[in-house]
């Protein structure tokens, strides 16, 4: 048994040596363990689906090298360095959380290797960088979408905004929402909480006295779920509105019936894909993982395809050329819509609004830029 194993590995070694020239290495720097491991795992699933559908480019096999950043900022920088320097990848799909992308991005920038973040929505991530891109829209846009939706679709005139003061994501999003909502003529009250808080009764008691038409919580799902429960217990029956951080099956598991009526802005809805490739993605994902893909999975999928497309257009696997090609992506058909990357490395595309209805994430509408 042992001998066969050794033989096998020797053969594989030879095979890989022979075909080694025929591969393109792409690094994947995700949080696979630690606090936000769930995001990393979901996104990686999407990347894997893309790889299984489109395994090659320029006649070469695409090899993914996954590195875990342990949801830790120091490691986020280390893994990018490791992928570039140790694994010699040509491009990186990576870093989910914006703070991680900022740490990793400066390394990619220095090494002139393109890094494409699937889900970092903070505007600062790509700011002033030539090798950092993203496959998702940015927070100002998401905040704008939320404000438009709240004002036009929910007919809300008074909103209470709950800001998670710990999360830059939440602070940024709340800021952009407030700016646009007030500009449209709405009235805003602010409340604050922090990640890890489990009791929101004080803020909610105060908030409900303002009789809001909508409560906007641009935070992450654990707190949104708990907040929804406690708000319902305090008698609030109106809608919640959240950002893409709300999207996780745990929202419903923790929140139960209380999260019905939570609207959130997102990148994608598996029930209503915009594009043909989106349908293909949903079908393949369901086949591989026996469940509906999340928005993060779709973004992971698109990141892979965007990179593959850029390599194809560049006609080369040189990092510099891939980066240049990425920058000229125009109207690319991805699972989350038609994607254009602007000169700053940001993606311009439509956003969807979903709602939790009977414990299911249900599509509501699409809002275009």
């Amino acid at each position: 048994m042992k001998k066969t194993l050794i033989m096998l590995s020797v053969v594989m070694l030879l095979v890989s040596a022979v075909f080694g020239a025929g591969t393109i290495k792409i690094g994947v720097a995700f949080p696979m363990t630690g606090g936000i491991a769930a995001f990393g795992q979901m996104t990686l699933n999407g990347v894997k689906v893309a790889q299984s559908l489109y395994p090659t480019v320029l006649g070469k096999k695409i090899v993914l090298i996954v590195a875990d950043n342990r949801s830790d900022k120091t490691e986020a920088a280390n893994v990018v360095s490791r992928l570039i320097d140790y694994n010699h990848v040509k491009a990186i799909i990576g870093e989910i959380a914006s703070s991680h992308s900022l740490a990793g991005g400066s390394i990619a920038e220095r090494s002139h290797v393109p890094m494409l973040s699937p889900a970092s929505t903070n505007p600062l991530v790509t700011q002033g960088k030539h090798y950092v891109f993203r496959a998702c829209f940015i927070d100002p846009f998401q905040g704008h979408v939320a404000a438009v939706f709240a004002y036009n679709n929910l007919k809300a005139r008074t909103a209470v905004v709950f800001t998670d003061v710990v999360q830059d994501y939440s602070v940024g999003l709340a800021n952009f929402f407030v700016k646009d909502f007030v500009a449209m003529g709405g009235k805003v009250y602010k409340e604050f909480y922090q990640s890890g808080d489990q009791d929101f009764s004080a803020q909610l008691t105060d908030a409900l006295n303002k009789h809001p038409d909508v409560i906007y919580v641009p935070g992450y799902y654990p707190e949104i779920a708990l907040m929804a429960r406690q708000a319902r217990q305090l008698g609030y029956t109106g809608p919640f509105l959240a950002g893409d951080g709300a999207e996780a099956p745990e929202l419903v598991k923790i929140g139960g019936a209380a999260v019905n009526g939570v609207y959130y802005t997102s990148h994608f809805n598996a029930d209503a894909p915009f594009t043909e490739i989106g349908k293909e993605f949903v079908a393949k994902y369901k086949e591989m993982f026996k469940e509906s893909p999340s928005a993060l999975a779709a973004l992971g999928f698109d990141s892979y395809l965007l990179l593959r497309n850029a390599i194809k257009r560049a006609g080369s696997d040189e990092p510099e050329k891939i980066a240049a090609a990425l920058r000229h992506t125009k109207h690319f058909e991805g699972a989350t819509g038609y994607i254009t990357i602007d000169k700053y490395g940001n993606t311009i595309k439509s956003a969807v609004v979903n709602v939790v209805k009977n414990g299911k994430f249900t599509y509501v509408t699409t809002i275009n830029p």
């Binding site: 363990t33 630690g34 606090g35 491991a37 769930a38 949801s71 003061v165 602010k190 409340e191 604050f192 909480y193 922090q194 890890g196 808080d197 489990q198 009791d199 009764s201 004080a202 803020q203 008691t205 105060d206 006295n209 654990p222 779920a225 708990l226 429960r229 217990q233 305090l234 008698g235 745990e250 598991k253 923790i254 139960g256």
Partner: protein, 298 residues
């Protein structure tokens, strides 16, 4: 309107304070007897909740049996921790035990990440009637509030009965003052310290399960903040004093809720209150509200 708000906040504060108090009782009991800040208390709490969750989800037990199994296993865990990590260091410098306790906390968290994964799990294994909301005019009270208060007082009475009405309790109090002398008097010190840890850990698990019923989400780091807050509560009440832990817990819970309720802009500073109270108390009245132990002699 102002009054209703105040009353509602007071009710919310009672609920949170009751939870702090429940955790603080276990904390203060272990400290009172061993003079060890058991950093791992919050993590034993977390493991108790996981045990209960898995007993129900994986083994299909009814919720009440699952809770009891969770509590019992947590007691067992506490027993093991004391035996393996704390007992060998009982005669070492106190700082060594403290460092080991920190290491233990770190270990229990890391082990939970490996065993249960880092993703928060939902704790929805208890009957729905605990979540029922009773409405009195403008006030809304969750049924769970009464349940938590009831359990807290019951356990408080139980602990007080154990400490002051049983032979074991007398031995525990004796150990609290002087280990060598107590062992000379014929009490089995090891056994009694083990027992203290088992009871302390079971109290932690009980409070953890209550905590999870209020905030139904379980993750490996869930024990840190409650543990820290309960420690502050215990210091407020005079560490080592069981009734003090109760008062400290309620005071802390109320303060946090009321301050955030009336100064919503300060929500970001919520934890600062607890820490400032802690520091001020440590500086000026380290014995807390209920003085139990006097200064040691030179």
């Amino acid at each position: 309107m102002w009054l209703t708000d105040f009353a509602q906040n007071l009710i919310n504060g009672t609920l949170l304070g009751g939870l702090y108090a429940l955790i603080a009782i276990g904390y203060t009991m272990v400290y009172g007897i061993l003079r060890l800040i058991n950093f791992a208390h919050g993590d034993i709490l977390m493991w108790g909740v996981y045990f209960a969750l898995y007993a129900v989800v994986a083994f299909g037990m009814p919720w009440w049996l699952g809770f009891l199994v969770g509590i019992a296993l947590a007691g067992f865990l506490g027993f093991g921790i004391e035996k393996i990590a704390y007992r060998p260091l009982r005669n070492a410098p106190r700082i060594s035990s403290l460092i080991t306790a920190i290491g233990m906390s770190f270990f229990l968290e890391s082990l939970a990440v490996v065993v249960f994964g880092g993703i928060p799990k939902s704790f929805n294994i208890y009957p729905k009637f605990f979540n029922h909301t009773l409405i009195f005019g403008h006030l809304r009270i969750q049924t769970l509030t009464f349940f938590i208060l009831g359990i807290t007082f019951l356990l408080l009475l139980g602990v007080l009965w154990l400490l002051y009405r049983t032979k074991t309790g007398t031995a525990m109090r004796a150990i609290a003052t002087d280990i060598p002398t107590t062992s000379l008097m014929g009490a089995n010190v090891d056994r009694i310290i083990s027992l203290t840890f088992i009871i302390g850990s079971m109290l932690a698990a009980t409070s953890g399960i209550m905590w999870a019923m209020r905030y139904p989400q379980v993750q490996p780091y869930m024990g840190f903040v409650p543990g820290m807050k309960a420690f502050v509560a215990a210091v407020i009440g005079g560490i080592g004093s069981v009734p003090g832990a109760l008062v400290g817990g309620f005071l802390l819970g109320m303060t946090e809720i009321l301050v955030v309720g009336f100064f919503p802009n300060l929500a970001g500073y919520r934890d600062v209150f607890a820490y400032v109270i802690l520091i001020v108390l440590l500086m000026f009245r380290p014995t807390g509200i209920f003085t139990v132990y006097s200064e040691q002699k030179v």
